[in-house]
Each structure stands twice: as structure tokens, then as C-alpha cells.
Symmetry: C2
Subunit: 307 residues, 2 copies
């Protein structure tokens, strides 16, 4: 089934201990769409400016992504500049230029609003809520957010969370959202806010699923080479939602497999800057790494309890 | 098969956000022995002072632990005082009184030296090395250590690591020992120092195994209630080595199961102060939690690759 993502398209400038890049392709919806494109047809809804390079559009079209939902607006594309220290789990934002994002209204067409799987990537929760109200006949609605919105627009964000099928955030965001240092307690509190399931991304420590389909936990693949963590969370969500949409269901078994596919896509994404690794990836490599993670977690069960 | 542990017996004074205890039973070898006693016969070799309470000896004997290796020396028992903040992953040592540990020579009897499974719990690496040279016909020799010895007695510690079957340390210690922020690289470097396998404990994030039997990784059980993390690492090692000694082998499959049993014992241990939780635990509860962790990590594999 088809999958729609709404979020940002960006030109990112990133510095990590392993290199730097200026004005490269990025944005939450872009990372998501490229990762999901390995699994299912994807519609990408985002605002781009007049300066958004044609070459980037060709790359995305080359992945089979439906770009009819890209809104080219007057002005410059959204820009983000950030850096990472040796603790690659945390991005330090140096500069954000909203540009065309300030005029993006996130109004969906009827066709867009009828997509069965919808992901609200990290973007202003006012826009997420507009999409949430507009979609019709959606089988599964999932969302991401970030610390900025949790701190500054909590009421708008809480409105998004109500009746959400799945919220995907990282551990620091979960603790901040619930105002609770214990992650299992934070998860319990967040599920009370409305989402039927919660996935907590823990970077190099793996991922945990609470609520429907959970509890489930998986370690991350130990990676010797991490070039740039930008987009890891969006790639995770893209792999996860891509697998669910491809299967056309999100029961517990499929959701758990989807978490592993998400981990796989994130693990590839961080191996190079921008979308470079995902854009030279093959589906065979994706499945090979899924099997590698399966082997990494394998142990023999013990006998079931008697009586 | 029987298992010998050499390390500390202590009277601990601990404060956590959830309570405090004065002069309670503790010590690396004591936590290890109690956890291992659920799996196999254990000999406990450690120094105690004239003031070590008889009641503690009765508790340990009640677990079937062989106390003939306890050396009661003139003077006071080793004491440790520490506290934890809300980040329960890190202990802050407030005071250490070596007392009888200063006169403990770690000389084993012939019978002790012939135990097939031997664990060098956290103690001065000079003593660990003395035991390492003395043991005969050992099927498996494993060790733990801590940041203090890595910083202050690196040459002695490096001598312990040579030809060790298994080193069990936490992630901060692994990074410090290898002087390398990336954990997978640190693991690779540590394996070059001699251990055939390395287990890295990551607290609430789980555990990873490198080298023989690896790579293997498992998440920790998400726990809503953590009263006191003291002894978690020693309980982990006790469950792990206890299972290996009970099976009489340490092939890859058994080692992976042992990692899960270690996680189970650590997860129980942190639920109460001192040894309180382990001393009221049953083997049925241990196996029930093993199955719970199995279910927590379960997902359906995908088809193997063709061709």
C-alpha cells in the first residue's frame, strides 16, 4: 500500500568529527521517503524553495518517489546547520533558517488525504495537526517530533498525540515529554496521552517498543564507522513505515519486524553524509543486514514452564 | 561443575534516590556467589574481618555457598560507601576503607586452585594475577575490573587480561581501557590484549558480547522500579558464570544463553537494596524472567537469501 510522508525538505550543513558538508540534501521527510522507498511507493509532501537543486529532484525521482506533493514556494529552501561531537547521539543546532517553511500550509489534496499509511515527520505540530484532521480512511497514522516542539508548543503537540497509532521519538524526547527520568515510566505516561504504540529510539543503544505490539526491545548493530548521524531517526521511521505499508498491516508481529527494518535503514544511513549511503544501497543489502541483526540477537530459548 | 569466585566481601553504605542503607552485606564476590548459587555449587574466596556478622554467614550458607574459602583476618571488614543520582548507571564512591583487604594475599589451596570455572571478581589486579598463575586445569577463567584499576594499575591489569577466556566490564570501563570512544572499536582493541571474549555491560541499555560467541547483543529488561544498582554487574557475572558452570561448557550457544541469565540476575538484584531481592528469589522466577526476556526480543525472521 502507498505511504505518504509530510515533513521538511532541507539543505543541511553538517560537521561531525569525521568530516563536514555544506548545503547537502536533507530534511525529515526526505530521509524518511528515501528509506521507505526500498519497501513501498512513497508520496513526499514538503515545501521547497526556488533554489532547491534539480539534481536533488532527479535523485529522489530515481528512487521512484512520487514528487507531485512537493510544493515549490517563492523564496529559499529551509536550511539547517548543525554539528556533532564524539557523542554522536546528540546534534547541536547552530542555525535554522525557516525560509519557505514559514509559508507552508500543509494542505493536502483529496488524493493525498486518502493515502492508507501516513507519517507526520518532524515539523511544526500545528501543521501535523492540520494533516491529521484532513486525512480520510487512513489505516495507520504515525508521527515524530523533537525537543523544540515539546518545549515550545506542548498543547499543539498533545493534540497531535491523541488517537495516534504510533509515536516515534528518541529517549531524551520521551523523558522530556513525560517529565520523567525513568524510561519505562515515561513510556507508560506517554501512552496515556493517546498513542496506541510508542517507539523510543536510543541511538547506538537500540530501540524499544511500548504499548500495542510491545514490550519489544532490540539492540542497534554495533557500527565501527559512523560518519554522520543526521537523518538516522527519519531513516528509521522510513524503514519501519515502509515495511508496514508494504505488508498492508501493523499487527504485533509485523510491527516488530518493522522495528528491525527501521534499525537496518538507520544503520546504513549513518555510514555516510547526507543521503549518500541510502542512495547507493540495494534491497539485497537491506535484507542481508536484517538477517545479520537477527543473528546478532539470537539465543536458544529454554524449556517452557510446566504446569 | 563447581565454580570459584575470588573478590571482595564488604559492608556497604549506600544512598540512592529511593532510600539508604548502612553497613549492609555487599562485595563483588558476595553478589557474584549469591547470583551463581541459583545455578551451580559456588566456592567463595574473600577476606572478612573480625566484625563480619555471623548472620551474613548464615544467609550465604543458606544459599548452599561453600564458605570454607572465607579468610577471617584480624581487623575490620572492607567497607564501601557510595551514592547514586537519578542516573543510576554511575556510582559515586564517597569512602573506601580497605581494612582486612590490605592483608589479603589471595593464596589458594590446592583444592581451590583445581576448580574448573573461576571468576576473578573486581579486586586489586595484583591479587587477580596471583590467582590466575595458581589455578590448574581450569576450563574457563573470567574476570571483571573497574575504572580505578584501569587508571592506577594498568600494567598489572594487562597481565591479567592475557589469555583470559572472558573479560566482563561496563561500557565506560571498555572505553577507558582502550582509550577509544567508539565501543565496537574499543572492543576490537581489547580483544587484541588477550581475552578470547569480551562482554560489555551497558546498564539499562543491555549488554554486548564480542569475540568468541559474538557478536551478540541483548537489551535489558525495562524496569519501572530500580531501588539500588549496587552489585548489578557482579550479579550479572554470577548468573552468567553460574549457567556456564552448570552446563559444563562455554560454546557460543551456551555463552549467549548465559548472557541472558546474567541479565536476569542483574534485573532482580537492582529491585531492592543489598542482597535482599536475590535472597528471596526462586529458581522458578529466574526461568520465568528468562522467558520474559526471550519474548521481549522475539521477532519473526525473514527468508534466508537465495543463491
Amino acid at each position: 500500500m502507498s505511504l505518504l510522508v509530510i515533513g521538511t525538505a532541507a539543505l543541511d550543513s553538517v560537521r561531525t568529527p569525521f568530516g563536514e558538508r555544506e548545503e547537502v540534501l536533507g530534511g525529515s521527510a526526505v530521509y524518511f521517503a528515501v528509506a521507505a522507498s526500498f519497501f513501498t511507493p512513497v508520496r513526499l509532501v514538503a515545501a521547497i524553495g526556488e533554489d532547491f537543486p534539480e539534481a536533488h529532484l532527479h535523485l529522489l525521482a530515481g528512487r521512484g518517489i512520487d514528487l507531485s506533493g512537493l510544493r515549490r514556494l517563492p523564496g529559499r529552501t529551509f536550511r539547517w546547520r548543525g554539528e556533532y561531537g564524539y557523542d554522536l547521539n546528540e546534534a547541536h543546532t547552530l542555525d535554522t533558517q525557516l525560509n519557505v517553511l514559514e509559508r507552508f500550509d500543509a494542505e493536502l489534496t483529496d488524493a493525498e488525504a486518502a493515502t492508507p499509511y501516513v507519517f507526520l515527520a518532524n515539523i511544526d505540530p500545528v501543521l501535523q495537526q492540520r494533516v491529521r484532521r484532513r486525512v480520510r480512511g487512513t489505516r495507520m497514522l504515525a508521527a515524530d517530533t523533537m525537543n523544540f516542539w515539546i518545549e515550545r508548543q506542548r498543547p499543539d503537540l498533545l493534540a497531535v498525540l491523541r488517537d495516534l497509532d504510533l509515536l516515534i521519538i528518541n529517549d531524551a524526547e520521551a523523558r522530556m515529554l513525560a517529565n520523567q527520568p525513568s524510561l519505562p515510566r515515561a513510556a507508560r505516561d506517554i501512552l496515556r496521552l493517546g498513542p496506541r504504540a510508542l517507539i523510543v529510539k536510543r541511538g547506538e543503544y537500540g530501540v524499544a517498543l511500548f504499548g500495542e505490539g510491545g514490550p519489544f526491545a532490540a539492540p542497534a548493530l554495533p557500527l565501527e564507522e559512523v560518519a554522520d548521524p543526521t537523518g538516522a531517526g527519519d531513516s528509521f521511521a522510513g524503514g519501519l513505515m515502509g515495511h508496514l505499508a508494504a505488508c498492508g498491516r501493523h499487527d504485533a508481529a509485523t510491527l516488530r519486524q518493522a522495528v528491525i527494518y527501521g534499525s537496518v535503514m538507520a544503520s546504513f544511513n549513518v555510514e555516510d553524509f547526507s543521503l549518500s549511503r541510502l542512495l547507493r544501497l540495494t534491497r539485497a543489502e537491506v535484507d542481508e543486514r536484517f538477517r545479520h541483526l537477527t543473528a546478532l540477537m539470537h539465543f536458544d530459548p529454554i524449556e517452557p514452564a510446566r504446569g
